[in-house]
Amino acid sequence: MSYRVYLSGNEAIAYGLITGGVRFLTGYPGTPSSEILPTAQKLKLRYGFKGFIDWAINEKVALEMAFSSSLCGIKSAVTMKQVGLNVAMDPFVNSAYIGPSAGFVIVVADDPGPYSSQTEQDSRVAAYFAKVPVLDPSSVEEAYLFAKKALEISEEFKIPILLRTTTALSHGKSDFVIPEITIKDEFQPAFKENLKNWDKEVLRLAATPKQRFLLHKALNEKLKTISEKNKIRYFYEGDILILTSGMVFSYLMEIVEEHKLQKKITLGKVDMPYPLKKEDFSKFKKVITIEETAPFIELLLDTEGRRNGIVPSEGELSLEVCEHILAKIGLIPERKSISIPPLKRPSLCPGCGHRIGLFAVKKVFGKKTIYTGDIGCYTLALNFGVTDTVFCMGAGVSFAGAMSKIFRLSDKKRFVVGIVGDSTFLHSGIPPLVDAYHYRFPFLLIILDNKTVAMTGNQKTPAHTKSYEGEPLNSVKIETIVEGIGIDFVKVVDPYDYRKTVKILKEAKKYLSESAKPAVVILRHPCVYTKEGLEKNPKKPVSIIEEKCTGCKYCISEFECPALQWDEEKEKVFIDKTLCINCGCCIFVCPKKAISEV
């Protein structure tokens, strides 16, 4: 029996992993990878098998947990976005040498564009660096099939497999047919079997440098065997060979068929870009690789492509860009480019607690203060001048520490305020705060605590008290961590209480001036983007008193609530009631008192 499903690339990967036998799955949310794990959780709720599927504190911990679970004989996987793999690089590289004891798959989502990332890095290169084979699916159905295949190869060769996806694939949806899902208890038998060999495994699991050399040698043998079997698949029969992998393959198929290039082009599809052997291309008059985002197959097989300027070196290789590349080599006519009108820039949701909280910070600390931001919704505070730097997870804390020290050493006096979200703080903000306390770096750290990973779709954080299955969990309190480090100025306040927030921030400012030690203020207000958050949010409907509004636009430029809009005719601000959530925060913003409670 089989049936038709309609799934996104991310959902398909979850189906592939779970039906392939994965019973331990963890990861850290990051666009575009975030939907894989929740889909697996839904499957667990539906089919009720033994296993663990939930988020980890960061990608390094996630990879270590999943890998160690595989050492216990349980098929395991871990999910993350591409920059998350940087965080997990140490255990990732190591996992290839040691090798898993049961199937172990690292799912990494790249973001060519980029749409929502700091870099356009190509995880296939990271796989090469770590000597980990990588699969690069070209369609949603392949995402499902390759997830299963990754587990099979991993089991057979006792080697980790990186399953790479990209934004276009992860968020693309398609219908396809899968066999009926039957879930076996894979957990207990696998665990028992593995335990028998435990003592013999110690040499491998706690290898010394001498043994590492042998493990490296064994790894190279495995890679050689895998590469022997890894063959390029050819489509069409032209004398120009275009090599490709991932979603770009599907684009090229469409373009070939649309422009009837079947006799001009041969498409070489690489399912596994690493380890890949050279093949005989002598019958082709030209060999080009079109791939996202690094010249990877191009370098391995020494073809044309990015290095001779045919393929653009940055940006997503969309259908349009692929067409443009084929036009450049004279296969199709150049199409007139279409200019895209700018869309409104993104801003924090109406009523978001971050907005009023950071507005208060700006009020107290002023525009000259240096605001080191971090990765999360609150990066958008950039729009209203409360973020000067955005770098990588946790860097808001390390930047603030070092910069405050630099200013203290220099002859310029500046306040430094670090801004970090709850989940980013737990991910990698704690170690730099320990250093900051130890070295007495004098800055204020604002921790925006909305009890969720809002930016990536409201995943749970360690503050939660219940799992998705309803099991009790210990709730982690951020203030306890901060106090535990030794910091003595730690205050918690709901930023909706504007007056109290301002008062506490003023105290913090005084503390910084007098004590030369770090201070921490936790601004705690639940995210209003979730259903519960919105329902429980306090309601204070407001209106604009037209006679009082001078049209100064201060509320728009300094506060930027999307519901506060400009009326061109009246030259005054009005409230778009379809967007406004009646949070009442803007009352504190208008200097002319033109916004008031109704």
Partner: protein, 148 residues
């Protein structure tokens, strides 16, 4: 067929599109879609590209859409980058929708209007993929057009 569905966050563009996709699947066609939500949440642009019965990838080339459906009339310039043929709802239809059904069913009421006016999809198949409340909203919109 290549469709693009555009609207603002909070208008139910994703559900509107999901029902279209499921209806096409009910009709036995293959469907590929892509959701582009961007970073803008409430008020930001939500874009769905949909290929029915054709293609290998879920993406649509600019300038190649057979039809662009707009749930928000202020996105016409952006819609043009996908194709010339647009389907949008009149101000009167929008206002009527708000009066006829609760806010959360407005998108499905509008879908009913779309189905009645274009006949691209089979209304009986669309009904099959909906729950009771949504079905009512869909039929209200559909019958409003029929009775005009």
């Amino acid at each position: 067929m290549k469709l693009v569905i555009l609207g603002r966050g909070g208008q139910g563009v994703l559900f509107f599109s999901k029902v279209l996709a499921q209806t096409a699947i009910e009709e036995g066609k293959s469907v590929k879609t892509t959701e582009i939500k961007g970073m803008a949440k409430k008020g930001g642009v939500v874009e769905v590209q949909m290929k029915i019965g054709e293609g290998y990838s879920p993406r649509i080339k600019r300038g190649s859409a057979d039809l662009v459906i707009l749930l928000s009339p202020d996105l016409k310039a952006y819609a043009k980058t996908f194709g010339e043929k647009h389907f949008f709802f009149s101000k009167k239809e929008m206002e009527k929708a708000l009066k006829e059904v609760p806010l959360r069913y407005v998108n499905i009421y509008l879908l009913g209007i779309f189905l009645a006016k274009t006949h691209i999809f089979d209304i009986d198949k669309a009904i099959k993929v909906l729950d009771e409340e949504n079905k009512k909203a869909l039929l209200k919109g559909y019958n409003d057009v029929q009775s005009r």
